[in-house]
């Protein structure tokens, strides 16, 4: 495993932005996760070698932050917020609906490797809950119908275009 030429160029630039190489741990981990979908043991070795730091330093970053994953997951990871405001607007119904539709439980991946379902803590979209994150996109104001459409779109490789929030008005 190695960095691509474009990534190497980016790394050279990043080195000029921080006084200590260790600061590149998170940026490089993101780089790999973006490309591979997860950060393997081999990737940990690669980052440690690139930055010339002990592997354990890289390993602890991978395991400590909740957004880095160690193993391959579904092509799309559905991360539904279960925190207070989303819950008050029905996130549990959304989670139940996804479980029923995809026939998986929280934490599981569909047999075809397409979807993994997770619950997450507040993602800063509380005014447009219930919401979920898929990759770096936010899907907001969810209900069962909307979820069905999103799953269908994702199956066809169609992610939505992210826009600034638009807040609803209720009765």
């Amino acid at each position: 495993m190695d960095f691509t030429d474009a990534e190497k160029k980016e790394i050279a630039y990043l080195r000029t932005r921080y006084p200590e190489a260790r600061s590149l741990t998170l940026p490089l981990m993101w780089m790999i996760q973006k490309r591979e979908g997860f950060v393997s043991d081999e990737a940990v070795d690669l980052i440690a070698a690139e930055l010339d730091i002990p592997k354990i330093w890289v390993e602890e970053v991978r395991s400590w932050y909740s957004m880095f994953t160690e193993k391959k997951e579904g092509k799309y990871v559905l991360e539904v917020c279960s925190n207070i405001s989303c819950a008050m607007l029905g996130s549990q119904d959304v989670i139940d609906h996804i479980c029923k539709t995809l026939k998986i439980k929280i934490g599981e991946t569909t047999p075809d490797g397409m979807f993994t379902l997770k619950t997450v803590e507040c993602l800063g979209s509380c005014g447009t809950g219930p919401m979920m994150q898929v990759g770096d996109r936010y899907y907001e104001l969810l209900d069962e119908k909307k979820v069905d459409q999103i799953l269908e779109d994702l199956r066809n490789g169609k992610e939505h275009e992210q826009k600034p929030q638009e807040w609803p008005e209720y009765k």
Binding site: R17, P19, P27, S66, N83, I84, L89, C126, Q162, W167
Partner: protein, 433 residues
């Protein structure tokens, strides 16, 4: 009441984030016109005069914080913008990051100049993918135009900004955790002292401010600290962004002048409670601030002092509105779960205590609670709060103490009935107008 708009003084038409749009509404004028005539000390003085208090949650006056930097110091100084908005209920910085990023950059240039920072970092939570894209694009534009990376007009000062992406951890919102994260470590918090102003990022003097605080600086420099101090109240100057969520008709982010009546805000701006329901409770400043009942907020105004007097705190300005029919035990179960999940594990009272709190609340919610549990909860919080390295321990206790105190009957009902009177459900209000 009409509210002065400082941070949201633009039309939300989808282009407000661009340099072109920002320049059209008078952006970067302080860099072009004020900086050549102002010394760093004068910039700092204006911010002090404004009396603006940090908008991240703690509410410490920003100018005073800046003046804690050591006077004779030969180490580089760093500025960090804290964009790790992780407090449940809070989404107000997102609006600036996504729709007004140049105002933040301009504020960071002014702050960097005032404290003579060698390099400034914008730390954005990893989940904010779109905000990150927009801020990165804005920083690029600012470099291309020469606001960044080149000496500011009339000075020899060069401002550098780097955007740093977080990776999911609430505790990184604490200044010391955030610094560890930029240094490439686990985002665990550090003991204070030393305070960041003396020994922060890379062991150098460091100032950390919230997004909203830094974005307010251009207005302060353009109009003067005194003019800013005239807005709001004597002790809580300026405007504040509020993010409103829960059972309100019009959730969203609003900018209000501090000192505004809370009930007016709730009924006018936020449109009141949905579906004609009655208000049951309000969490006024994000999940860590104590919950209030309708009678507590009747005469409350939105400012640091009044909300403290009502028994809670303005915090990050995240108003969570709860309508009748909602199970408070279930809500507390969600919140205690959150703090257990986010405890970084360094201090025993927090690591063990948050889990213990959650297990007790969960068993009450599930119908297996005992009456002694209620006193047990409040006795546990006494051993967590103020016995830990960082404020997360205290943050976990605020909701527990206040929920149990204010809604004790509901907890007792759960225990007596052996289950939830609301069957653990929320009334789901979803119909749009």
């Amino acid at each position: 009441m009409s509210h002065k708009k400082i941070l949201l003084n633009f039309e939300r038409n989808g282009t407000s984030h661009t340099l072109e749009s920002y320049l059209k509404r008078g952006g970067y004028q302080t860099i072009a016109e004020k900086i050549p005539a102002l010394s760093p000390a004068e910039v700092l003085e204006e911010v002090k005069k404004s009396a603006i208090r940090g908008r991240g949650g703690a509410g410490f006056p920003a100018g005073i914080k800046w003046s804690f930097l050591p006077k004779d110091n030969d180490k580089p100084v760093y500025l960090i913008c804290n964009g790790d908005e992780g407090e449940p209920g809070t989404f107000k910085d997102r609006v600036i990051l996504e729709e007004n990023p140049h105002m933040l950059i301009e504020g960071m240039i002014l702050a960097s100049y005032a404290i003579r920072a060698k390099h400034a970092y914008i730390y954005i939570r990893g989940e904010y993918g779109f905000a990150l894209e927009r801020v990165k694009a804005a920083v690029k534009e600012a470099y291309e135009t020469g606001y960044l990376g080149k000496p500011l007009k009339g000075t020899d000062f060069v401002c550098e900004i780097t955007v740093h992406k977080g990776a999911g951890a609430y505790v990184v919102g604490d200044e010391t955790g955030l610094m560890n994260s930029i240094e490439g470590k686990k985002g665990q918090t550090r003991n204070k002292p030393p305070f960041p102003a003396i020994e922060g990022l890379y062991k150098c003097p460091t100032i950390i401010n919230n997004v909203e605080t830094l974005a307010s600086v251009p207005w302060i420099i353009a109009n003067g600290g005194d003019a800013y101090h005239k807005i709001g109240t004597e002790k809580s100057s300026g405007t504040k962004l509020l993010s409103v969520s829960g059972h309100v008709r019009k959730p969203g982010v609003y900018e209000v002048e501090l000192g505004y009546s809370f009930m007016d805000f709730l009924n006018n701006e936020a449109g009141g409670i949905i579906d004609g329901k009655k208000l049951k409770a309000v969490i006024p400043g994000g999940s860590s601030t104590p919950v209030l009942k309708p009678e507590d907020i009747k005469d409350m105004t939105i400012d640091y002092e009044s909300i403290t007097a009502a028994g809670s705190s303005l915090g990050s300005g995240a108003v969570i509105v709860i309508a009748e029919g909602t199970c408070m035990v279930k809500l507390l179960e969600i919140l205690t779960h959150f703090y257990q999940h986010e405890s970084c594990g360094q201090c025993t009272p927090c690591r063990e205590g948050t889990g213990w709190l959650h297990r007790i609340v969960r068993r009450i919610e599930e119908g297996n609670g005992k009456m002694e549990d209620l006193d047990l909860l409040t006795s546990i919080t006494k051993h967590i709060a103020f016995h830990t390295i960082c404020p997360l321990g205290d943050a976990a206790c605020g909701p527990v103490d206040s929920f149990v105190k204010k809604f004790r009957k509901e907890f007792e009902e759960h225990i007596k009935q052996g289950g939830c009177p609301y069957s653990g459900k929320f009334v789901r209000f979803q119909e749009k107008v």
